[in-house]
Symmetry: C2
Amino acid sequence: MQAALVLTVILSSLLGAFAQKPHHCKSPPYLQGKLAVDFPEGKTMVYEQFYYDALEERIRVVAAGKEGEHDVFMDRLLLFREKVYYDIIYHNKTCTKNSLDAAFVPIAIPFDAKHRAQVVLGSLSAPAEGLLVNNWVGSDAEIKANYSLTFTEFGCIPVVTLYHIDGVGHFLSSFFDMIIGIGDPSALIPPAFCFSNNTVERRDGKATNFFTALL
Amino acid sequence: MQAALVLTVILSSLLGAFAQKPHHCKSPPYLQGKLAVDFPEGKTMVYEQFYYDALEERIRVVAAGKEGEHDVFMDRLLLFREKVYYDIIYHNKTCTKNSLDAAFVPIAIPFDAKHRAQVVLGSLSAPAEGLLVNNWVGSDAEIKANYSLTFTEFGCIPVVTLYHIDGVGHFLSSFFDMIIGIGDPSALIPPAFCFSNNTVERRDGKATNFFTALL
């Protein structure tokens, strides 16, 4: 009887220890938020508002920023299941429809990423003063990139991602104001004028995972 | 009677609105934590463990990192009230005692800093998944620097500070694992061998506020 009790205690401690290890997590299926992207050499800085739906495999990104001296603006809706993406221009109600070859890759820590550190941003000494995050590193052979991903321990929300792409440079994305859920579902549906005759169709589209789709 | 009630409601809403505005805060008097400092042009990267006591005006910094190809290491105890700082070398039990001209400047948002943004790191959609922070910008005439300071809304804990010093470059400090309090008070007392005959005294010391003292 006592031996069984000891065995139970040991087993549950072991299982507890395994459970406590940071795990390769996947973000919630519905997310919206903002991010600031710093492109190679600090020449381009872009602010983006995005909507992410992993169930129906749709992403909407509205980006505005500066590339050197030029203003840049982009409003893109990626529909991975339909294998198309739309570039939407509201002010003259036109659309460009492009083919999209890539498979939808959900926001997640890749299975082969290595856990580097768990740290607290701010402090856990008092409630609401700190945030527990994990940093993961790895490389993506497909896009020839090394990455560093920092996600929250609870909820698996992205905080900072850094991609270093061979021969291109660094892409630093800082995520903020993230909401679990979608506040405006219509943001993930092409506007009516995208189905009119004004819509130009192209077949040169290419995009990969969520992060590189936002670049 | 009704007019008085309306006035009370209006006044309390107004006062509420003022109270809700992010305020120029001061960090807790006892803090310890870690920071990663990225020096100009990314040539030097230093990790620091620090202990901060604003009541007795003492700071201890242990820094290790790389400057180009060279390893750098520093263990410094700054005693602002006594106007001295010690550079401590444990492995051969020697000390350098230096004069310290600067006034102690507590960790705080300077009174003339401008509030730029309040954002959530992670998400407030669920408990423990997000952190509310404020970003402040301004300039410091004394050290000829522009700065961007990101502190937690609750607790006034530093998260990221960026100093751009004229003619020198950027200093990016990322704070983490912050604890309110001091776990090891002896870290703020010079070790016994600093009072022996081996201690060299110098008079060329110079340091300014908390952040530049850590640089």
